[in-house]
Subunit: 364 residues, 4 copies
Amino acid sequence: MIKTARAAVYDAPNEPFVIREFPVRDVKDDEVLVKVTMSTICRSDIHSYKGHRPNPCPGILGHEIIGIIEQLGSSITLDLRGDTLQCGDRITWTEFFHSGESYYTDVHDMPQKAEGVRKYGHDLADEDPHFLGGFAEYCYIQPGTGILKLPDGISDEEATPLNCGVATMISVIEASKVSAGDTVVIQGLGLLGLYGCAIARFRGAKHVIGLDAVPDRLVMARKFGADHTIDISGLTAEQQIAAVREICSPDGADVAIEVCGVAAAVPIGIKMLRVGGRYTIAGLVNPNANMTLDGNELLRRWITLRGIHNYHPRHLVEALDFVMASRDQFPFGEIVDSKFSLEQLNEAFQRAGDNSVLRAAIVP
Amino acid sequence: MIKTARAAVYDAPNEPFVIREFPVRDVKDDEVLVKVTMSTICRSDIHSYKGHRPNPCPGILGHEIIGIIEQLGSSITLDLRGDTLQCGDRITWTEFFHSGESYYTDVHDMPQKAEGVRKYGHDLADEDPHFLGGFAEYCYIQPGTGILKLPDGISDEEATPLNCGVATMISVIEASKVSAGDTVVIQGLGLLGLYGCAIARFRGAKHVIGLDAVPDRLVMARKFGADHTIDISGLTAEQQIAAVREICSPDGADVAIEVCGVAAAVPIGIKMLRVGGRYTIAGLVNPNANMTLDGNELLRRWITLRGIHNYHPRHLVEALDFVMASRDQFPFGEIVDSKFSLEQLNEAFQRAGDNSVLRAAIVP
Amino acid sequence: MIKTARAAVYDAPNEPFVIREFPVRDVKDDEVLVKVTMSTICRSDIHSYKGHRPNPCPGILGHEIIGIIEQLGSSITLDLRGDTLQCGDRITWTEFFHSGESYYTDVHDMPQKAEGVRKYGHDLADEDPHFLGGFAEYCYIQPGTGILKLPDGISDEEATPLNCGVATMISVIEASKVSAGDTVVIQGLGLLGLYGCAIARFRGAKHVIGLDAVPDRLVMARKFGADHTIDISGLTAEQQIAAVREICSPDGADVAIEVCGVAAAVPIGIKMLRVGGRYTIAGLVNPNANMTLDGNELLRRWITLRGIHNYHPRHLVEALDFVMASRDQFPFGEIVDSKFSLEQLNEAFQRAGDNSVLRAAIVP
Amino acid sequence: MIKTARAAVYDAPNEPFVIREFPVRDVKDDEVLVKVTMSTICRSDIHSYKGHRPNPCPGILGHEIIGIIEQLGSSITLDLRGDTLQCGDRITWTEFFHSGESYYTDVHDMPQKAEGVRKYGHDLADEDPHFLGGFAEYCYIQPGTGILKLPDGISDEEATPLNCGVATMISVIEASKVSAGDTVVIQGLGLLGLYGCAIARFRGAKHVIGLDAVPDRLVMARKFGADHTIDISGLTAEQQIAAVREICSPDGADVAIEVCGVAAAVPIGIKMLRVGGRYTIAGLVNPNANMTLDGNELLRRWITLRGIHNYHPRHLVEALDFVMASRDQFPFGEIVDSKFSLEQLNEAFQRAGDNSVLRAAIVP
């Protein structure tokens, strides 16, 4: 077996990534060693890189990862779906892991919120097992990770975002109780918004209405299931609300979802809803996203407002099922629109950071 | 049959109520004529009286009403529970009524939010059938009202608030998904808060924590099922949160409910919740109840925030079942702590308005 | 206005239908007079005609009906969705109607099970308003019926079964909690089975497995969304179960639905389910459909078994949304594969009865 | 530390238990060593003892166990509720354990049904760690067990059945969706039936109707919350149904629960339900519990029938909360009505087997 492998190491915020080698050892009984075939740069990687949030240095960033099983711990035999795992299988896995007993895991079935939960791409590279992030040749999957075998039919480009963007939006759409015949508003048509449009459409939404201020995104949203798109650049809040309400007879949308990262969008979106409508906050991932709401309006109109972050392992299973069932309908492959080698990670971060690419992939 | 009956008429905001007589006619096929035995003054009656919200004049206020059936329309045979109705039965009924087809009624099962829904105590007294409010000798129950027979065992004092405060809080506690073992925070210990404490306790809450700044209300809350009460006078938001969290091991309350009418209480209450906790706004009945929330906190902590107003007819049935099952446990009769004749309505409003009584009853 | 119109009257079981004329009068305030454009023969019409179940004679059979509004009662202004109704609109409506208060309607939101609920096609033709069935030139829509405007894009053939087969299967799939990624077994591929396949597919089922013993039906099921079909002719129960389980990794299907009308299919279908699976009985519409189940198996495997009959008005709205959203995907028009005039009703019943047509339409 | 401890060993079906000594070693990092303070004999222990179902020999039976922590593995720090664990704490724990990834655990949140789940009282005593059953001085709690600290206020008699009978009935009542105001029928008033009555009452059931043929049990059921009891000895099925329906106006019970172990009770109980009623099978724990149901009746009456077995760890938390909140209301201590030493286990099994005691406790 090989003795070392390469990783692009994050030494300090805004500093260039540096290629280093770390030892590769045999797996423990409850680990899996994966040869990374693709990883993608998530917006939260960029936040980490820019120092907007603390991440240990030196580290290996990246949590949207897929790869091939190279070594399988003896106690790992089945994937989340109960299918047998073996060396050579191509897999995805939950971006977080947790093991042991926990109030949130065992009582509330929220392993993603367990005390002590950890996330790939957030550890020191200096310590064993070194490889716990996506921008490297290898990754050690830790106990308490949900693993899922990938079918042959899915491309790497379609599969890599499964464990972050797709699974999160499966979680969001479920929490928003989108059902067939519903009218769904998506505020923000970035990666999460595109997946949101597609999942809502796939679940039988009557109307999927996408809002953004970037014309290219509106075009893309139509490919991902939006039957109405509204360019909000230059529109007042009242105009946005009126534009949506005109589509939603007789009294507004059933569901609205914030994935634009702008807190001020929330009160606008709430006014687009019918009595009894559901609003979900899914994009306000940065602290202090303050917004002013009228509690009387929430009360009189029976509004349900939920915040959703991350997902449950079962959502990863549903994410894969969704992409496999609808890949003829939606051009998932187009989302990953650029590829870079490990050595090109600095360029990839620059391009992802200035939005000149939609989703940058690293092929180590 | 008698030809006329008395009502205390509301001629203009802040003017004294005047006793007038109106004709009493035979019922139509789909009406019920009730001889009022008791009505109580709701806080919203006081808002109407003071002109804080529009109400037609001259009118008969009052929607918390019970009475004896004097005439029964030929098409009315059963109550909400399917029990036979007949003259002489003592009954309560939904404070609202609506008939005909409706998007909200027929599709979303929210008759309380149907286009064209009307409420007792909100009509002109000059027009037939004149008697549509509580502060009068009679009331005509209109088509589309949910009627419920009262058992002998319940006193008028226990029964009169059923169709407003009790049924609303049944609706609120249901929407808050309070289940056995939950820890429930009630912000505000007025009438709604007391019923909220009792219903949460009745449904098996592990802890019911009542918050208010009026010491007498804290004492009363303990009689209504609160096992912890916190006097928030002089406490900062952080102190309130800390006091609640100390009780709620390991990570905050499952549910918090706003019934204090103060929008600023909402962000404080949200910080009392565990990840995945539910917050319900039930007391912000006045417009422009603005509050500032941190959307990121809602997201990271999977908070569900709901506004609830009014109730479904089935909640009235559950309200009666609740009071009948727990009247040995909670002193519901003490809530209605004063009685007045129709002629004393001005005094009753004054006493209710300055909070020198808890719930004023009119016995015409 | 015309004074009389034609109907094909059912005088006695198994006797030929006879064309008779009945008076057409102006509508009451709460009625709608519809000029029938198409009605279809449901299996239950055949049961009535053959005398397998009591139906008043002389009567006008038929409850799957659409038509054009000719007169609109003054109190009817909006459809179920809140859209404005006017003369000339083409509409569908719930096959049942009920008005007034009711325990099941007002407390349990099951208007379809209200005491005194009535169904189109089940009244005496001799009495006013005479026209209450589908096989006639006119139909009077009664108070308590849910009305829904049809968009131009839907053909009569696609629209006529909406208020029976489609809405019922929307109700069944909802009760079966079919969600994206589920594996769904449909036992029986007649009209209900085909709609069941299509709705399950539309809601994102991972696998839709159709079972029948008629080869033509298996072919049709593949057009309606089944990705696996199993010809059960000649298969033992064990073989059927094994064939389904081979598809459903790792431990059986999430959902199975009986729409074959054979009670013995139920225990077989239950054995196809995973632990926690849901089974819905939707086709056993005839009395004494006895079956033997092993209660221990239900217990150990956490099986949920539900019976579903008929539907809620909101399901009719969803039925229309479903057909409009998926009519490019599924050939709904092919289901209504034959047309007859009112005078040809005898032939139509013969053809429907011997299954030489799939769904016979009457165009009066 | 001591080197050996005593256990009452089950060598073969129907043979006397024999006291043997086994080594007691230090715990591994993920184990807990408990000094047993009480264990009780469950009906399933009797089935195992009589050879009605396979259980490895020689073994230590008993899964209803509580005890004091003597050694705590270094990785075990918190209980299910998030409270800190330490030596000397008195605890209860789930009767089953499972560790590692699993389709049922991770996707469907049913750890109790995970592939490879194990149960206390079902292992060979010859192998390390020897002590995995209740009828011994010690028990080693294995990884994947949900542990819960017991408050001082609860007696051993109240606490020992928590992890079997009480938690199971919490699971059953939840699955039956018993809510305030419901009418609940309990068929069978043994241990599960008594807990079922009490939990239904605690959750606010309007009527709790207990059925049994043993007069003493009817008396006991009234102490545990049944407000109606029906002695079914000598009653036909029709008479039982009529007796229940007389209490349940207007159209039958909301919920019925089988805990009598007799399959023939199921079709009788179903006929006691209203349209839309829920029936739960919870007592048919033995194979081949065949029963004949009318599928048409299930369909027409929208009946939901569920089988429930065992429970989720969160139900153990709720079980303890329930007993703590209602121990002044229900005489839980009376259920454990006899105590035996380890040496008296043979006598205890005899008394439990012939029903001359309600619940026999072993105090080693």
